[in-house]
Structures are given as C-alpha cells and as structure tokens.
Symmetry: C2
Subunit: 386 residues, 2 copies
Amino acid sequence: MLPFRFTLRSTDGAARRGEFATPHGVVQTPAFMPVGTQGAVKAILHRDVEELGAEIILGNTYHLFLRPGDELIARRGGLHRFIGWNRPILTDSGGYQVFSLASRRVISEEGADFQSHLDGSRHLLTPERATDIQARLGSDIAMVLDECLAFPATREAAAASMTRSVRWAQRSRERLALLRTSAVDGVTVSNPGQAQFGIVQGGLFQDLRDESADATVAIGFEGYAIGGLSVGEPVDQMYAVAGDTARRLPVDRPRYLMGAGTPQDLVECVARGVDMFDCVMPTRHARNGQLFTSEGRLNIKNARYAEDDGPLDPQCGCYTCRHHSRAYLRHLYLAGEMTAGALNTLHNLSFYLDTMRRIRDAIAFRTFDIFRQEFLRSASRLSPDS
Amino acid sequence: MLPFRFTLRSTDGAARRGEFATPHGVVQTPAFMPVGTQGAVKAILHRDVEELGAEIILGNTYHLFLRPGDELIARRGGLHRFIGWNRPILTDSGGYQVFSLASRRVISEEGADFQSHLDGSRHLLTPERATDIQARLGSDIAMVLDECLAFPATREAAAASMTRSVRWAQRSRERLALLRTSAVDGVTVSNPGQAQFGIVQGGLFQDLRDESADATVAIGFEGYAIGGLSVGEPVDQMYAVAGDTARRLPVDRPRYLMGAGTPQDLVECVARGVDMFDCVMPTRHARNGQLFTSEGRLNIKNARYAEDDGPLDPQCGCYTCRHHSRAYLRHLYLAGEMTAGALNTLHNLSFYLDTMRRIRDAIAFRTFDIFRQEFLRSASRLSPDS
C-alpha cells in the first residue's frame, strides 16, 4: 500500500474539499502550490513559506536536472534533504521547460532532444529519463512526461500530440513500476512512496480531452493533471475545458490544473472540480511590483501610492500588511531593494494561500457559491494597472 | 534632559561594556549597527534583523534625501514610522557618499555642491542642511557633516580638512540647538530626543587627531565618532589611530568608529576603547557569497562545497546554519536565487552580532583578552578565498 492517499471530505456543487497524504505529510485540497523552481521559492525563506501555510511546493525538474543535477541531489538524500524542506513536494517532468526552448529542441517519439540554456550541452529527455530524474529527486508527486502543444493548434496536431502523450504516459508508468519493484541500474529512488500523476492533453477539443482522460485513467495513476491550458486561450474556454475534463476524471483521485492562474481562475476552476493548482504568477508578479488584494490588482510603482500610509490590502493579515505601508513598499521597489521582492512575495503568496483557505472553508460550509460571487465582484473592482 | 544617555557598566583594560538609551530604546555596547542604506537592511526583513538581536540600524542620509526625500519621510512621521522599524536608528550626514561622487561634487567652506547619482540634479549639502535633513528623518543619533579626506593625504591637506570639519561641526551643533529650541521654518523635527555625534578627523597624523578631538569635545556632543579610517590604510595604523583617539575622548560618551570593518577589526578596536561600529561588509559580502565563520572566511562559490552537507559554520546557531547545508547554499548562489542573498545575509549578520555579544560578555567577565586571542587565532585559520 502506497503512502499516497486521497480522501474526499465534502462537496458543494462540483467543488471538492479533501486532502491527500504523502510521505512528507498531508495536504488540504483545494491546494495552491508555490513554485520553488530551483529549490527555493524565489525571494523568501522556507520558514516564510511554512508560516504562510503552504503545505506543498513545486520543484522544476528541468532546472534541478541541469543544476545542481539529480545525481548530486540523490547523493544528498533527495530534494527534501538537500533543500531542507520537510513537507510535500511535487515535481513537474521537465517537459514544459524543454518545449519552451523552441529552436533548441527536437521532438521525436523517443523523447525531446534539447540544448541546455545554461551551457548549450545536449540532453535527451525521454519518459523514462523524466521518471528516473524525479525518482532521484524523490518528490512526493512526480509527473509523467507529456508533449506540450503550442497554442493555437489544429485538431490534427492536437490529436497527434495527445496520442503521443498517452504513449509517453504509459512508458512513464512502466518505468516507475520497474523502479518500484527492483533497482534500475544507476537510479537511486530517494522516496519509495513517490506518487505519479498522469496528464490529460487534447488542446481545446473536448472529444480529444475525453479520449485522453479515458486512456490516461486506463493506465492508472495516483492523480490526474489537466495540462496544456493557461497558455493563451480565452479564460472561458479554459474554464470550460477544465470543467468538462475534471468531470470525466475519477472522483477518488486528485485533479491538478497545471500552471493556472489568476485568483479568479483558481476560484472558477475549483467551482468546476479542480483540487490542485500551481503558478508563478503570485511570486513573479510580486517581484515586478504587481500585488493581489481583496480589491483587485495594484501596481506598487504607481505615483498615487507615494504617500499612502495604508497597507497593501486592508483585509490582509500577512507580515507585509501588518508592518508596512504602500508608501514604504513603493520606495523599496523603486530603490531596487531585494527586500521589496521578499515583502511583495510574502503578500502575494499570502493572498493566494488565504484564498485557498477561504475556498476550503466555503466548500465545507456549503457556501462556496456565495463566496465565489463575492470574491469575483470585489476582485474586479481594480483594474490591473491601478 | 535629553533622552540620550550613555552608561559605562564595566571595563577590561581599554575595552568598555556599557549601554546608551535613546527615544526608541536601549543599545548595549560595544554595538554593531547593520546598514539599512535606503530604509531596509538589504535582502532581509526587519523581523530578521530583530531576531538576529540587532538593537540599532544605520540609515544613509544621502540616499534617503534623494529618494524618497526627507520631506516625504517627515510627512510620514519620520524614518521609524515610514520604514516600520521601532528600535534605534543612527543616520550618517550624507557627507561620505557625497565625497565619494568624486568628479560630481565641489567642496567649499559653505558645504558640498553635488550632483545626484540618480537624476543628475544639483544639491548643496551644508552642515545646516545635513542637520535639517536628519531632523526630518528623526533618527535617534544624527551625525555632523564632516569633510572626508582622501587617502593617502599630506599633512597639510589633513590639517586643512580637519579644521574645516571642526568649523562644520560647530555649525551643525548650532543648527541642532536652533532646531531644538524653536521651529526653523520648514523643518519638521520628527524626533525631539535626537542626539548628535561629532566626528574626529585628522587622517593618520595623531597630533591632528588630538587637536580635532579636543576641539570637537569642546563643542560638546552626546557622542563622538572617529571618521576617516578604514579607507585603505594599513590595519596597524588604523588600530593605532583609533586607539589613541579613543583614549583622548571623554569616558562618559560613546565612541563610534565609522565604517569598520572585519570581525578582527571590531575585536581589535574594542580592545582600544571603541563602543560602536557600522559596516556594509557583512551584508555586501553575503550577497557576494563571502561568508564569515568561526574558522575564518569562506567563499561559497568554491567547488569544494558542492557536496558538503555541513552548515556554513558548525559553531553558529543562525537560521541558515540550523536549516541549510553548504551544498544547498552554493547551489542557490550559483543559480542566482535571491534567497541566497537572504540566507547569506542572515548568517553574516548573525556572525557579527554574535561576536559583539561575546565581546560584551567577555568584558563583563573581565576575560576579554583571552577571548580576543582565541578569536583572532581561529579567525585566521581560513584564508579569504577558501
């Protein structure tokens, strides 16, 4: 029996309140996973991430594979020990970053041949290799390697890509089964309780999504992700595909929408049955001075905040809002102080994680629809540039 | 009666254990002041600075005057309120930065005419203006404007510069007296209990130093600084001048060696009667991967640390050393993660502040000389590049 176990606690419409157990602890769902690309959530410390209430973070296989290397990390006892983070970690497969390399990669049935953005060295990322690397990293949840479709895509391209992703998912699963039962030469399994999620593709074509979902579920994974969304399509289409796909996935497994999104996206996709999210938006926007608040988005560079003694968000109880004014945060940002990145990151992550807490409470109390309407109304009050 | 009050608790040789009271709290001496140039100690949060045990930080008048401006800060209630730091703050006069502008400043008896490094705007920094700006900032300790001598300097240049600094000190003191007794048009006094320190100059010529000390003490300040050292002179000369100058200063006032230095410098100058220090070295070196440890200096970039699971310093109890390995810190540094700057800054400041605690204990127990010998022996074990 694997340590990974998902328990559905309650539902409110399509929204689901649950939790999953991993070798490094339990995660309440719906969950947001801060992105710790290279083994750190940018600009802040692990203790900050913990204090914010994050129960799981995401690590990027592509970056960690290239630097410092999965073998070095395995020799250190795996990613948790190496980075000193003892709570759950999910790793992606590395595929998304490799596909983003555009002219520096060649895709074949075997896998993705790519050139490192760091030193130009060539590497072949196959479903087996992505599984091996993640086994060495020892994350609590590994992702299968999938083909990331460019947007927009023709139906033909989406279908070909989707069926290849299913074949890669099958190879990823077989590789993990092998790693679980017997040592594969040269591969250290840093976390024997590692779970593996399959990924549904198919672009914006719902019949392809259905086919992908059925085939991926037929292989059998501890959880299922919805990939290839949040790549530039209109939000309504994203919501529709996420919702229709979530509905087709097994009730007893967590559903993870990869790479989304705005706070509104999170609320809308929870409403359609999604349990897990990750996104660089709160952390990246923070470093660029874009702050999320209960009244909408705010650009701290704006001159209107130069003498504003109020907190970023009067509704927020984070360290930044308890101790600092918009005037000070604007000053630090304009002065190029690293501390601005830290304070803004604390706030934006707090906003995201607090939104997830409120979502979970609302589902448990079966008041999710009221929460959702209120949240969307207040979030739309400020435009992105205010 | 002013809130500023220095109390000498005990001595051990020339080393002094004391404390001074300010409107924002008490500071134990000998003290090290982390530098918060633009209203933040670079890369970390105020709560980190507090947890490290820093009782006072330094703010740079030049930077705060140019951005966001002393008048804006005064409208926010002063620097403490603006930056959300409720403990003591010392501000420099801005002179050091202005003199560092080299070709972009012209010095006259009136003051220093300079061009902003930010936008090229011209400003005149006089003793009166430096006093006014610091009154608006409302620091707990303000410094007089002094002329910063280039190193090396002829005796003639040193003498001329020193006597001008004395005249400027007199003007600074008179301006503060005026600010204290009656409102000067357009100057908000953000902190009525602000103290002011004079600065002893005179280069490496001890008779000029003596003359400067006597003249500055004759004006009368709440404390005295030793300026113009740690500018490139051999350490032995720095120690000698600091010691001889400290000895000439009143026993009942704190003595502040400006801009020094290495941990060894701190220990050596405490041994010669200095009570206060500030330096960017621990924070700047941290961001450059240079770490101070009980075994000497360490360069985290070094390949030898790639698989080193030990802490930066086995003797250190800081957050970084409790949670992270040299291997992880090397990885974060090479990956360019901002978190590396934060973790390294926490460690270096912890090393400095912990050294000051050990110094204070040793003086109180009259074991300072043993401490000093042991400290210097272990600190010399690693070269700066190991």
